[in-house]
Amino acid sequence: MSKLIKYICFILFLSIAPFHQSFAQEGDSVQKFKSFKLSRITFTGNGYCGFDLELDKQLTDTTGMTSSSISVGLAPILLWKITPNLFFESELDLMMEHGMVTAELGYANLTYSIHKFGTIQVGKFLSPFGLFSERYHPFWINNAPNEPLGFDHEGYSPQSELGLCIRNGTTHFNYAVYVSSSPLMDTGADVVKNAGKIVYHTDFGTDINDKIGFGGRVGVLPFKNSVLEIGASYKWMQLKLGDHYHGGTVTHSHSSGEDLSALYIGNIYAIDLTLQKNLPGIKGRIEIKAQAQYSDAGKNNFIKLSPSGKTEVAYTYLNTTKIGYVLFAYKPVFANNKILKKTGIYLRGGYMELPLGSLWYENTQEVSGGFNYSFKWNNTLKLGYQQILSAKKSYTNSIMIQWATAF
């Protein structure tokens, strides 16, 4: 492990070597920052409220079950430019869904900018894995009133990291590489059917797994006007078994046949694409956003109760997941009508294949679409419809209304 630390130090050294040059070039602006100014602290954030009406139905049945829910979220953000190069940012996620209120630290990190050589980020930061988690997840940015299948808060895509990240960008090229705490793999002791799920979200910046992992994303923007970005991401994880609760990690020995000391190696890969182009010929702007990812955590062994409920039986499955989506949006921003130019439509398709043989197996596809109206650049009202079709021959239709804002 000490050798690993040496390698991390080596990578750090590579990035901090040009510090002296950076200082020399920015001497004047450092002078300006000598005195503390409260105005360099900015409180901003975003929020949303929404209403969902769901109808669950079996394909072979004419009856169904309806349910409705209201969701409200607020994410206050604090930004502080301490010096020309040193910056602090943090976000608190407050959510109320299905009558439950949760509060989580979205991110909190310190960033040091080394002029043109990029930035070093330390703390809890959004995962530079694909683009949805890092850039498109706030509802005032997301064209749809909900996340694509598998990309939600409890989903199957990395959301935040606790560690160190080095990143940089140019007109045609950007990258982010990081070393961070690996996620846990759920033992199923608390909720049996969750055995083997990778717990990607970490609450309040708790180091839930002392094993490290690493990953990164490379983005290429082949055209000068940044209309297209294609990215590839990778993350390597050492998955310890454990159940994570607010404030700590608990491992359970609920079964004599389960090896709780097992350490599984997980690999997760993603490719993403973003295209946005103004097309005056159709008086508007089109956007295409897509992401596909695959994760593999090897063969996992767990224990479950037999159908009779009296004895425990061992089971094994290959822990692989596949999720992805494509979103197409059109906004008539060049329309002559003042109201029409504030509108937009979107269509989204997605899929989610969870491990066959696991108790959390699912194979579902979604189709959704909707209409948006932006009162201002940071205030949008959305109306959406979604149909989720599962391999279990059931489908869920949802109608969603959401108002999202940034301030």
Partner: protein, 96 residues
């Protein structure tokens, strides 16, 4: 098993270091050139709309744009030169 993980971890970190050096050298070489050909207004239009609607310059004061632009530089991996031009445009257009 432990040694295997350590070995894989080392390989990964070495690979990451090599990739980092390559990207770093590349970004040092090309980072400045293209950006200076465009105005802050053009970059504001191109870079901001990669993710969201273009923000109204009057939303924030000069000091707030100083802070918010740093936040966006990190989040969207925008180069120092480009974000500087965007910030200057927003500060000049906000009427502050």
């Amino acid at each position: 098993m432990g040694n295997g993980i350590l070995k894989n971890g080392k390989k990964g970190l070495v690979a990451m270091a090599i990739i980092l050096i390559a990207f770093w050298l590349h970004s040092c070489k090309t980072g400045e050139k293209v950006a200076v050909e465009k105005s802050g207004a053009e970059l504001w239009s191109e870079q901001c709309s990669r993710c969201h609607n273009m923000p109204d310059p009057t939303t924030y004061s000069d000091d707030k744009w100083e802070t918010v632009s740093m936040h966006m530089k990190v989040r969207a991996n925008i180069s120092t030169k480009e974000i500087e031009l965007i910030k200057q445009f927003l500060q000049s257009a906000n009427g502050d």
